[in-house]
């Protein structure tokens, strides 16, 4: 099955080890200057009296975030979220419920001398992220669980916990920038295009953004790695996972089947011209734009998944030309472009319909009901998949985004 969009949740940390080679070549004064810039949170208070909660995953990004803020004089409190039973996720008995990441986060906190706590969000993560993920798949969508996690447990629950602690800010290791602007705080893409995580943060509200800080937003991964080594962090050379955290083996279908038993049924693979071409083992195994894995031999043309029809339990395939779309509707719009919603006449912007997508020019107008918007692309694009996020940009600035709806959905 095709992977849902590549997750880049900073709290599960990622980056190929090859990048570590690039970490060499920074002088101590370079790194000190980088840390000083990154560690200026712009809070009008003596740093020693400024309490900052850092969401620590056990990965290198959040470890560096905590270390550099502690170095820059803030009162740093590390918090790690327990999101799911690690032992159950990897199906091995007698493993700790927490797994190695919590252990690593604790070791990092000890090494930099900050208090560290584990908060239990297993129940909320199950209902607000994992079950949503499964339901989305079952209904023929391609979900982005990392957005849901940021939106719920991270920036709703953890943020509330940080406020309960009397913190002045919640900092994470995401590669995204928070820039004070004329009409309030703006979100901008991470300075390094290869590491930008803004796609996964589009649902951050203005109120949340006000409380959040992203010290790594202006850094490259090489700079982060170099800082990790400078702070002697136990996680400095930790390998990173490209998987969704609760699907460590990449087998999404198994997770969906476990959460929603019996929801997957075999059905027909149908050509856009109506011809039944073969059978599939459940629509959860397919994603819009997917070519490999469509087992209908003997066709002269290359076929792609064009549409998933959960009602009829059908996978609709067609030639590459059938993939193109230039209009769709998004729901649950989060608007960060100033004002309560996009202007009635629409706004010219660029959009990303998955994380690894070159932004495409579009006109975005308010939709016919609350929280909806219509996206009109200048040119058709391939792989518009319901359930994926559509994130709106003005250059580097994130204007917000929403979830791509199925054609004709109410």
């Amino acid at each position: 099955m095709t992977m849902p969009d590549t997750p880049t949740c900073s709290l599960t940390a990622r980056a190929p080890a090859s990048e570590t080679d690039a970490a060499a070549g920074f002088s101590e004064s370079d790194l000190a200057a980088i840390a000083a810039t990154a560690g200026d949170l712009g809070i009008d208070k003596p740093r020693a009296e400024t309490r900052v909660v850092v969401a620590m995953s056990g990965g290198v990004d959040s470890s560096v975030t905590a270390a550099l803020l502690a170095e820059q004089g803030y009162e740093v409190v590390g918090v790690t979220m327990q999101l799911y039973d690690h032992g159950a996720a990897i199906q091995k008995a007698n493993t700790c419920c927490a797994g190695k990441d919590i252990h690593d986060a604790r070791r990092v906190a000890d090494s930099i001398g900050i208090p560290h706590y584990v908060v239990d969000y297993e129940g909320r993560f199950l209902s607000d992220v994992m079950e949503q993920f499964a339901d989305s798949y079952v209904s023929g969508e391609t979900p982005v669980p990392c957005v849901l996690c940021n939106q719920t447990v991270k920036f709703r629950d953890l943020l509330t916990a940080a406020r309960d602690l009397g913190a002045d800010a919640l900092a994470t290791g995401h590669y995204v920038r928070r820039v004070p602007g004329g009409q309030g705080v703006e979100m901008r893409r991470g300075a390094n295009p290869g590491k930008d995580q803004s796609y996964f943060l589009f649902a951050t509200t203005a109120e949340q953004l006000d409380f959040l800080r992203f010290p790594l937003g202006g850094l490259s991964k090489a700079e982060t790695r170099a800082l990790a080594r400078r702070y002697n962090l136990p996680t400095a050379d930790k390998a990173e996972s490209q998987d969704i955290c609760f699907v460590p083996d990449g087998d999404y279908a198994r997770v969906v089947e476990k959460l929603r038993p019996g929801a997957t049924k075999p059905g027909d693979i149908v050509h856009v011209d109506g011809t039944v071409l073969g059978r599939h083992e459940g629509i959860i195994h397919y994603t819009i734009g997917q070519r490999r894995g469509i087992d209908v031999g003997g066709m002269a043309e290359r076929l792609y998944v064009v549409r998933l029809d959960p009602a009829a339990n059908r996978v609709i395939v067609g030639p590459r030309s059938a993939l193109g779309r230039d209009r769709f509707v998004i729901r649950d719009l989060n608007w960060l472009g100033g004002g309560a919603a996009p202007p009635a006449e629409g706004v010219r912007c660029t959009v990303k319909i998955r994380n690894s997508f070159t932004p495409a020019a579009a006109l975005v107008r308010p939709g016919d009901s609350a929280g909806r918007a219509e996206v009109d692309l200048d040119d058709p694009v391939h792989g518009v998949a319901p359930g994926q996020a559509c994130v709106l940009y003005d250059g580097d600035r994130v204007l917000g985004g929403g979830w791509i709806m199925r054609r004709g959905a109410a």
Partner: protein
Amino acid sequence: MSGSRSDRPAVYLDYNATAPLRPEALEAMTRALEAGGNPSSVHGPGRRARATVEDAREAVAALVNARPEQVIFTSGGTEADALALTGTGRARAIVSAVEHDAVLKAHPETRLCPVDSHGILDLEALAALLAEEPEPARVIVSVMLANNETGAVQPVKKAAKIAHDAGAIIHCDAVQGPGRMAVDIHALRVDLLTLSAHKLGGPPGVGALIVADPLALAPVQRGGGQERGKRAGTENVPGIAGFGAVAKVLASRGREEAEAARALQERLEAGIADIAPSAVIHGAGAAARLPNTTCVGLPGVTNQSQLMALDLGGVAVSAGAACSSGKVAASHVLRAMGLSEETAREAVRISLGWASTVADVDAFLEAWRPLARRARPVATVDGGVAQRT
């Protein structure tokens, strides 16, 4: 870098987890460590170590009105519970729903006896459960003396009568008892009783099972013939010496310390009511409650947040049972009392002890005050919301 901020608490109010070591225990342990010797050895150092162990055994026996030969030293409360529940060879166990995990998980065939909304064992339910047993003589009942989370004192003597009338035997986990209330194995009429040194200001890693009458008890840990064949393994002489020293201190000061704790508890709970009118003391309706234990729920503020904020404010308390990962689970004790998962996750436990002071209690109240401001207001009968002052 910021250095030692990671272990800040200066105010320790978590005696039910473990109590600070008393100087008397430290001194006795230091002496025993320096003296060395294996109590099983024939030579002089061995005999002196033996004397240290037997001296401690007498003190521990006296603490609960038992005879020295009834005391089996163990590695702690958990081992003593395991020895009681499995070493007695009973086919089935009936234990209260609010027992510590050391009891809940000790016997493979365990049924739970419910408690009421104050956390007190339901004696009628106990009698009914025993009546359902095909062979009550093959049953062991276990009821704790007082609950570690709420402090609710259990009707152990009445439970013992019910168990014995049915032909069963009964064990009592009394680790939270000494220094907080009187503990007398004869008055309680239980067959077995568990003690732990570190809950009393002794060292961790040492406890005892007190066996009231000659009872067939099979060792769980086999090897040498130590503890009259009931618990193999070279005795933890320094730990036992520390335990004995604490038992002696409690024999003379136990009542006085309990009274002092009661006065602090009253101050604490009055302060809580003043700061947060919506706060609830769980188990407050119990007929008797330990003088050192207060379990308080703050509506709208999770105990995770409370624990973290208090710790950052230099105050150590606890909540529920912490997993090895450090996450806080909802208390099975509060759930057994009928509280919702959400309410159970709003409760923290403050437990006082021998070194607690008025200043400690006041420091807790000060650190808790900002959290109390975030609490949900008291709901009134008509569904409205009362004004907080």
